[in-house]
């Protein structure tokens, strides 16, 4: 399995989508920086008439940590899941489309080991992606916006019930925690894409099905009509990763929703393994 894992790592690194995802995230950070910088200038500059002077438009509010927080929050729901679904969805279906799956399966490697080593690689890739993105945002924030404490207000980002503050060093630790909690949440999408990758013959189909399901739940969960259905969507449970940014981390809630995400991940993997193990490979 270790050899298989190493081979899968090499395959991933040599794929174009691997570098494309990092490039896209870097472009997003540049775009965010431009937007944040001009907004901060407009809202907190000398010519500005402060409308929200106690909260969002005070000069102390705009700093590198706030920039990183907004950037991470916005990208986590819609941008990073695309790359995770794309890479994970291509794992089995991609091999099938390229005609290499049968060849791999005739080697003395069990199908279960093959699938699990692929998933482990995806888990490592997801962590790398999240850690890279958070690290890049913090670096850009430090050099281009400047650091301060992280101020949090109720309403925006829906993080806190009352105004709160994270001191700089504590906030940096919270970003480190977010790289772990964020990865754990994203593994649900990775596992779902892996399942579709086993079910469908085409990687595009697997990626599209994963993103369609994710986006439908994500959007429907925000529509008031379906309020009573929200607790049953995996997208609601995935939201737990943000709790690490609360002034006092709700460990009980974090444990609960983190465990639910874990149940999704292992449950979906189990299903994927069961299907893949019995699947007749004809291509």
């Amino acid at each position: 399995m270790i050899t298989q894992f190493k081979l899968e790592v090499l395959k991933l690194i040599r794929s174009r989508s691997f570098f494309l995802s990092f490039l896209a995230l870097t472009s997003f950070v540049v775009l965010m920086l431009w937007g944040f910088y001009t907004y901060a200038e407009r809202k907190a500059g000398e010519q500005a008439t402060a409308q929200f002077k106690y909260t969002y438009e005070s000069k102390s509010y705009f700093n590198g940590l706030t920039f990183a927080l907004y950037s991470v929050m916005f990208s986590f729901s819609l941008l990073i899941p695309i790359f995770v679904a794309m890479t994970s969805g291509a794992q089995i279906a991609g091999e099938r489309q390229a005609g290499t799956l049968r060849m791999i399966c005739v080697r003395p490697v069990s199908r279960v080991s093959l699938l699990l080593s692929k998933f482990l690689v995806i888990a490592g890739y997801t962590y790398l992606l999240v850690a890279f993105f958070i690290g890049l945002n913090l670096l850009v924030g430090l050099f281009f916006v400047g650091w301060g404490d992280l101020q949090l207000y109720p309403g925006a980002l829906n993080l806190v019930d009352e105004p709160g503050k994270l001191m700089r060093d504590e906030a940096l630790w919270r970003f480190a925690y977010a790289s772990l909690s964020g990865t754990w949440a994203l593994l649900v999408i990775a596992a779902l894409a892996m399942l579709f990758s086993v079910v469908f013959d085409n990687p595009s189909m697997a990626t599209t099905a994963t993103l369609a399901l994710y986006l439908v739940f994500h959007i429907v969960g925000r529509v008031e009509f379906f309020e009573h259905l929200r607790p049953y969507f995996f997208t609601t449970d995935m939201d737990f990763w943000r709790d690490v940014f609360k002034p006092e981390i709700p460990w009980q809630s974090l444990g609960r929703y983190g465990s639910i995400c874990g149940a999704y991940v292992f449950g979906l993997l189990l299903l994927a393994v069961a299907i893949f193990d019995r699947k007749d490979l004809t291509t």
Partner: protein, 275 residues
């Protein structure tokens, strides 16, 4: 085979730990040591009807039920919103069998008024101008040797977040300037919509306006009913009792969800503090 078993075990462990962790397990309001001193019980209640009704102001036929709720819970002072006027307040005071004194705010530019009720016979009342309309404040003492208590009854605009911000700013400024020698409690229906998921207009500054207003109130006061849950229909917490940060100890905060009458869309928020 071992891998499948490991996955089944991991999945079962995750389900078990999800059941073990209880997100609702939070700190109790009563963990702090009991404080000596008299208790002050306050209530705020928007007694108007849901907006689908023809007349969404309070209905006079409900006054008896409202009075019964007040008498049952026995608050020292009550902040009421959405009354039709002083006449309706008079009827309510009659239903309260003279146990409370009260005053209604001037109508200003609104068709509904706020009111305060106080048990204390020597209470005084002040009109409080805020963003074109009026809130009303009651001044009273629980005991002669204790500091003066001021309860404000306020009702911020239901439809414009910008107006809510302006109104809240005026009321909070009035209240904080009187908080030096007195215990000021700010009660009412502020209509703050702080959860973006409940917002139907996503491309507005509504959240920022409400966040600014709420944060400004919390700059000087404490949200006493924060852990009591929703106060209005559709899981909304829009009725508040803001009190001083340090002068009082919170003993109880409860939303009386069985107290609604007719087509009211709010429930009374009852808070008890030790002085």
């Amino acid at each position: 085979m071992w891998a499948k078993v490991a996955l089944i075990v991991l999945c079962a462990v995750m389900i078990a730990s999800a059941a073990y962790f209880d997100p609702a397990r939070t700190r109790s309001l009563l963990v702090s040591r009991a404080q000596e001193g008299p208790h002050l019980r306050l209530m705020t209640w928007n007694i108007g009807y849901a907006e689908l009704e023809d007349d969404s102001r309070a209905h006079t036929k409900d006054m008896q039920a409202i009075a019964e709720t007040i008498l049952t819970n026995d608050p020292d002072a009550v902040a009421l919103q959405e009354l039709t006027g002083a006449e309706q307040l008079k009827i309510l005071l009659g239903q309260l069998h003279g146990r409370y004194r009260g005053a209604a705010a001037a109508p200003g530019n609104s068709d509904r008024v706020d009111a305060v009720l106080v048990k204390n016979r020597e209470a005084g009342f002040d009109q409080l101008p805020a963003d074109g309309k009026y809130a009303i404040a009651a001044r009273f003492r629980l005991l002669p040797q204790l500091p003066e208590i001021i309860l404000i009854s306020a009702h911020a605009d239901a439809f414009s977040a910008a107006r809510r911000r302006a109104y809240t700013g005026d009321v909070v400024d009035w209240a904080r300037h009187r908080s030096t020698g007195s215990i000021v409690i700010l009660g009412g229906d502020f209509n703050f919509e702080l959860n973006p998921r409940n917002q139907s207009h996503l491309y507005t500054d509504n959240i920022k306006n409400d966040s600014e207003a709420y944060s400004y109130a919390l700059k000087y006061f404490r949200d006493l009913g924060r852990d009591a849950g929703q106060t209005a229909a559709n899981d909304r917490r829009i009725d508040y009792l803001f009190g001083p940060r340090e002068k009082v100890t919170l003993r109880r905060a409860e939303v009386l969800r069985n107290a609604g009458v007719g087509r009211m869309d709010h429930w009374p928020l009852l808070v008890e503090v030790a002085l």
